[in-house]
């Protein structure tokens, strides 16, 4: 028996080692490195200098960066809210559709996820463009003035963010809505609840887990948004991601890019930890949020 157990241990070790080693080397260590290198001075050739300094971290208190951090949070929060508003009815509709129809709609929701992110953002740039389809259509309908600029503002950033994040919100909400027992809504209605009351007091709490997952998988990646503000946002509407990229590609100051990344990491950790703490209090070890991608 002992030999069998040892063989099992060896097998576990051999199967685990490669991915464990790889992810430690290329994910864990680099992440820790960001925290260390932010305390190194930059060297003039775009590399990392010798010695230690806290100047980089102190320079982050610059009002310019605070404004950008705030804008990043705001854009992510509004986009997440809008995604939920669209994803809850959609998730419900998909869960209640016939099986055939459900598979078709799910497929249609997933396909955009697989198409190039860059191309989808570019598609929006060209239709919001002054000569683009949406602009012309809205002008024709008399909704906007020919001089209105649809591109290069925060609304465009939020619109495209919602566009790219929405599938991630729909999938976990659908997954939760599919498991929901709809007799509960009928019961609430029988007991005199109006449709909206039944929806708010019975359905929403029933799909709570799906809502939490949706918020996490939309809000967190949105915090690191970079392509969208870069392509449809214009210079006045940069987010944290743009600042990080500028420090890397424009003035090649890696430590400062590292400092800004720390801010981003903290912003990412805050919602994750608060969900973990909240769920811990509720008792019971919930499995980690389902993987929206697979």
């Amino acid at each position: 028996m002992n030999a069998g157990r040892r063989a099992r241990r060896l097998q576990e070790f051999l199967l685990t080692l490669p991915s464990f080693f790889w992810l430690s080397l290329f994910f864990l260590v680099p992440t820790v490195l960001v925290f260390i290198l932010a305390f190194r001075p930059a060297d003039p050739f775009g590399g990392i200098g010798q010695g230690w300094t806290t100047a980089t971290i102190r320079s982050l208190a610059d009002p310019q960066y605070l404004a950008i951090a705030w804008r990043t949070l705001w854009v992510s929060a509004v986009s997440t809210g809008l995604c939920l508003l669209l994803a809850v009815p959609t998730g419900y509709a998909v869960a209640r559709a016939s099986e055939r129809r459900r598979n078709t709609i799910l497929m249609l929701v997933i396909v955009p996820f697989w198409t190039s992110f860059l191309i989808r953002v570019f598609a929006w740039k060209s239709i919001l463009h002054p000569e683009g389809f949406i602009k012309k259509a809205l002008e024709f309908l008399g909704v906007v003035d020919p001089s209105t600029q649809l591109l290069y503002n925060l609304t465009a950033v939020i619109l495209v963010t919602v566009y790219t994040s929405l599938p991630f919100a729909i999938l976990p909400i659908y997954a939760a809505a599919e498991k929901f027992d709809y007799r509960l809504i009928e019961a609430a209605r029988d007991l005199g609840a109006r449709p909206f009351q039944a929806f708010r007091k019975v359905f929403l709490p029933g799909i709570r887990q799906g809502l939490i997952t949706a918020v996490l998988v939309v809000f967190i990646p949105d915090l690191g948004s970079y392509i969208i503000p870069d392509i449809v946002g214009g210079p006045g509407n940069e987010l944290l991601g743009n600042k990080i990229a500028q420090r890397v590609f424009v003035d090649r100051n890696l430590p400062l890019a590292g400092g800004l990344s720390i801010v981003l990491i903290l912003a990412v950790l805050a919602p994750l930890l608060s969900v973990l703490v909240l769920q811990g209090k509720k008792g019971g070890t919930q499995p980690p949020p389902g993987n929206a991608a697979s």
């Binding site: 099992r8 290329f26 992110f117 598609a123």
Partner: protein, 262 residues
Amino acid sequence: MKRSRFPYIVTAVVLVFFYLPILILVIESFNASRFGGAWRGFSFRWYARLFHEPAIWQAAKNTLLIAVSVTCLSLILGTMSALALHRFAKSRIQRFHYTLIYTPLVVPEILMGISLLMAFVAVGVRLGMLTIVLAHATFCISYVALTVLGRLQDFDFTIVEAARDLGATSWTATRRVLLPMLAPGLAAAGLIAFTLSLDDFVITFFVAGPGAETLPLHVYSMIKHGATPLINALSTLLLAVTFTTIFLSQRLNKSGALEGGQ
């Protein structure tokens, strides 16, 4: 009780919202007009122009080379990882292992890009094709591992036990029974890794060096420097590739479901 039509209307609107921009982009790629907007007649001229851009073909070659290497690497590492996660699910090591596999999926891409760039610079690795492959494999492992793990959880292990009862060693049973039956799942995971590598921009942007331009990087520089009709044509071609890939993986999924038998 009459159900509200509202959710169905929202769903229809959402689907139009999803596909309208893509559809317009595809239509525009056949527009003869240089500046988009007004329709100047159907034309393949932008596709023809693509063939005279050697940079695009070089970028396509690089992208494919990277995607194939990444697919192989992440399939091997990800499948081993899924087997460990599944077989030793109760062990403490595997709980940490699972967190390590799961976290790259929730971390914003830009953080992965910047941290890998810093690691490569700190160690003094020259940025190029190799660094792109290393970076892509890092996030593809997680997708492969979780996809294969999902398949393993639905897998009927009595067949493997039968093989063991008939005298197969653990390794033989894995190699001759488990892996062949898992093949459609592995193929689907491989396609996911392939597509992700093919499409990745943000991480690639950070870890790419001179002479290692991929298609998304090229598309990005085209977006930055004008040339709209050409991007439309190139994008349409790339969309066609992605749609074909999805179609294939869907087929594999279906055959996988039949064989897996819940």
